[in-house]
Amino acid sequence: MSKYDKITVNTLGRAVPQIINGRESVPFLGVGKYKPTGRKYAPPISTCADYPADGNKVVASLREALIRCGLKDGMTISTHHHFRNGDLVANQIFDIAAEIGAKELTWAPSASFECHSPLIKYLDNGTIHHIEGSMNGALGRHTSVGGMQGMGILRSHGGRYQAIQDGDLHVDIAVIAAPTADFFGNATGDRGAAACGLLGFAMADSQYADKVIVVTDNLVPFPCIPWQIHGNYVDYVVVMDKIGIPEKIISGTTEITKSPDRLLLAEMTAQFCDEAGIVRDGFSFQAGAGGTALSIGIYFAEMLRKRGMKARFARGGSNKYLVSMLEEGLVDYILDGQTFDLEGVRSMRENSNHVNTSPFTSYNYHGKGNFASMVDVVILGATEVDVNFNANVVTHSDGYLLHGIGGWMNCLFSKCVILPIPLFRDRMPVIRDEVTTICGPGELIDVIVTERGIAINPLRTDLIDKLKGSSLPVKTIHQLKDEAERICGKPALPELSDEFIAAIKWVDGTVIDAVRKVIKS
């Protein structure tokens, strides 16, 4: 089976394959243009006759569970990324698979991290055929130079739910690491040594996989309350010493920035939202986990406090700053997709207004609406933006695939999408003639905030009108690009191979772009 076949050009003018890893796929047709037909995918029907009447589904080891699930060549195994860089389970699955001699597996994580770099050896020896999810850091680098047998597939969080629900991504075995579980398979993420808050990213896996294994290091007597994952979906329960490294689960980008440049970006963004009339009583917002995004939340909080207003809801990733807004009464609800720190975990456990959500409620595009489109303003990042406001989050300007999509694509449906980004990063201009990879079409991206000027998408005449006479430095995107190139010099284009190594799927499952192999220099 070839990695891909039948190259075509989609409506954004990007060359993409129509056959990927042997499966037909639809090229991107435009936002909201692809209409799915048929019925949702369904897993096989089970019967209680095949499960212990006493409810005890515990087996001796992960190896035994995988064997009982019928692990064999060509299967797809899924994991979730709620443990972020502290995950101890995914690597073990493939250690076992390699021992058993299973080949050509597909790994379908909801995201990958640096801790998963040991899996490179299984890409090399054929245990893993390809990854559908994200390829971050070393995995991405390896994929970029052609280190994966099959074609990588990147999806957004919502796109992953959509793909599993629609049957585009069939999961044979879902392995759900759970900080606390009972012997029946009921599981929760809000307590236990590896507490990560919630398990929303594993929900689709539990509902649609043929077989489901819950792995825990904190087995409690039935019932495990709350049951974020229902034991009724679960085939086997495995108990092990340690499923995650707590300090790495609560990781990284969760402190507000001390960088004066980023603080300035945050301040400009908050002021923009204010002048655009977005910050008002009852508004809603979502800001990611990066330091700049967190700081914007702090500026919002200040404005609300001063004016005696409050936000109706904030979408998580939650963190201590968002939690303190909730506790201070500056926001009514946190609708949370993942918790980024221990305060987030605590709040979710203790506060009924801190609600756990899943990609189904928040992001799934093949549903009867989702939360993302109801949010008044969302603050996101990007590695590159082009003069048509198309943005890239997965590759760097040198062509390397280094990041996943996360919920980024799904959030583009918010009423106002703002990308606060530095005009250049260590001499790399962020605003380009053309992005290396399109992850979001420009029509959905409203505002680019840089430290040297703010560009509003010409489609948003309403925002342009509101910002007339503003003290903020509103410029055109071309002016920003020229300024970056004046400072940094005009960048050369990377020399990329004609060969594709990964496909980027839009929220509806169509192929918006494909990533090319990097020619090593």
């Binding site: 004066p260 440049d261 603080l263 300035l264 300007s397 040198d398 062509g399 990063r425 260590d426 001499r427 790399m428 430290e451 040297r452 003290s471 400072i487 940094c488 010099g489 960048p491 050369a492 990377p494 020399e495 220099s521």
Partner: protein, 411 residues
């Protein structure tokens, strides 16, 4: 003479800089090894620049290693020039083009609330300094540069003066203490510096020497316009000589440096500043007597903006006109609190309005109520208004609003 030298910086946390190792050889042509995170985008352009510079100095055989963390061209060329000149003793200068937006002059009495110190050998801190809108940016060749790095910092500061956008901030350099600092001037004066800070100043004689050297360089390079001086008083002797220093030619402000001053007194610096009250008052009084600005010391606890605010208010109350800062986060606090408050703005508005009205009516004398207003008062009020407008504390059509409110209260 050495044949191999290393300049610049590399390692963890170093960004927008490069480390160069240059070895001049006798044969083999030019070999450039480039290790760079932006190699794909700028590798060719970096090689071309380095080749050009080597050719400019007539070097035909050399091996050059560039370890680059995203340095801009003006940084790379400063590093390479420093290396070449250390090895060859050549005096020729390889100058980047001066940005047209960097050619402005500043006036003697412009506002100097904030001046941001930047270490003269750390490019990453320079690149975005101007966007934080300090009144002045100081490229520091003195305490913020390690002794061994001083020679190469001069090239970087010179190139920054030419190629770095200051976004309208007053372009300042702190030279080393006189007499060593006099040599720094050669690298600075021909590149449109607006103001020189003279550290650890203890006499008018030191300022004369600086003025003399500047005058020589201006004549030599045919430079019009003024280069202002801001001596820094940092010792007991400096405090006692403050008046003669303040009255020296081209001096537009005195700054006080309290770390060195308290060390000189043999005491410790406190937030309350009792130990430096005399010195601060002396400096303020010397400045006011000489008709120049008094600038307070930096506040070193970057994280504590509340304490900074108190410090600024105390400073303003003592008569200071501005303060140094060591982090962009301090600029806003300094501006907001040195800036005229609402009462000052209101009063200034009435004065300027009365002045314009008098002009329109053809009256020679301006009065407000029963009080006559002198021209310097009008001038000061106009500056207060300009400043309030530029800081967003007053709208551009403030006069219409004032007239409206006066009409409303008359009805």
């Amino acid at each position: 003479m050495a044949t191999r030298v290393t300049t610049g910086n590399k390692g963890k946390g170093v960004r927008s800089d490069c480390a160069l190792t240059l070895e001049i050889t006798s044969e083999g042509g030019i070999n450039i090894e480039l290790i760079s995170k932006v190699k794909v985008l700028y590798g060719e352009s970096i090689r071309k620049l380095c080749s050009e510079i080597l050719a400019f100095y007539g070097i035909e055989h050399a091996s050059l290693t560039v370890e680059d963390s995203g340095a801009l061209d003006f940084v790379i060329s400063a590093r390479l020039e420093a290396a070449i000149r250390q090895l060859t003793g050549d005096k020729k200068e390889y100058l980047p083009a001066i940005l047209p937006q960097n050619t402005y002059q500043t006036t003697r009495d412009r506002y100097r609330f904030s001046r941001l110190y930047l270490p003269g050998n750390t490019p990453s801190l320079m690149i975005n300094a101007g966007i934080h809108k300090p009144n002045g940016i100081i490229l520091d060749l003195e305490d913020a540069v390690a002794v061994t790095k001083k020679p190469e910092a001069r090239f970087l500061v010179r190139n920054a003066l030419r190629a770095l956008d200051f976004y309208g901030a007053e372009r300042m350099v702190r030279i080393n203490q006189v007499p060593a600092g006099l040599e720094d001037l050669d690298y600075i004066i021909p590149h449109n510096v607006n103001l020189i800070l003279v550290p650890k100043c203890e006499s008018a004689e030191q300022i004369s020497r600086v003025n003399l050297r500047i005058a020589e360089l201006k004549a030599q390079h045919n430079i019009p316009g003024n280069v202002w001086l801001m001596p820094i008083i940092e010792s007991a002797m400096g405090v006692l000589k403050a008046l003669e220093i303040a009255q020296s030619e081209n001096v537009v402000a005195l700054a006080i440096g309290l770390e060195d001053y308290t060390a000189d007194l043999g005491t410790r610096r406190t937030n309350e500043g009792t130990e430096s009250f005399f010195a601060r008052s002396m400096v303020v009084n010397a400045c006011k007597a000489a008709g120049i600005q008094a600038i307070d010391s930096v506040f070193s606890d970057v994280a504590d903006t509340e304490a900074l605010k108190e410090n600024v208010l105390r400073s303003k109350a003592l008569g200071f006109d501005g303060m140094g800062c060591i982090h962009p986060r301090q600029i806003r606090v300094i501006h907001d609190n040195f800036a005229p408050d609402d009462a000052e703005i209101e009063k200034a508005g009435k004065i300027v309005h009365a002045f314009i009205e008098a002009g329109e009516k053809g009256l020679g004398v301006v009065s407000l109520g029963t009080k006559m207003i002198d021209p310097p008062v009008v001038k000061r009020a106009q500056r207060t208004i300009d400043l309030a407008v530029s800081m967003g504390k007053l709208s551009t059509d403030w006069r219409n609003k004032l007239i409206e409110s006066q009409n409303a209260s008359n009805q």
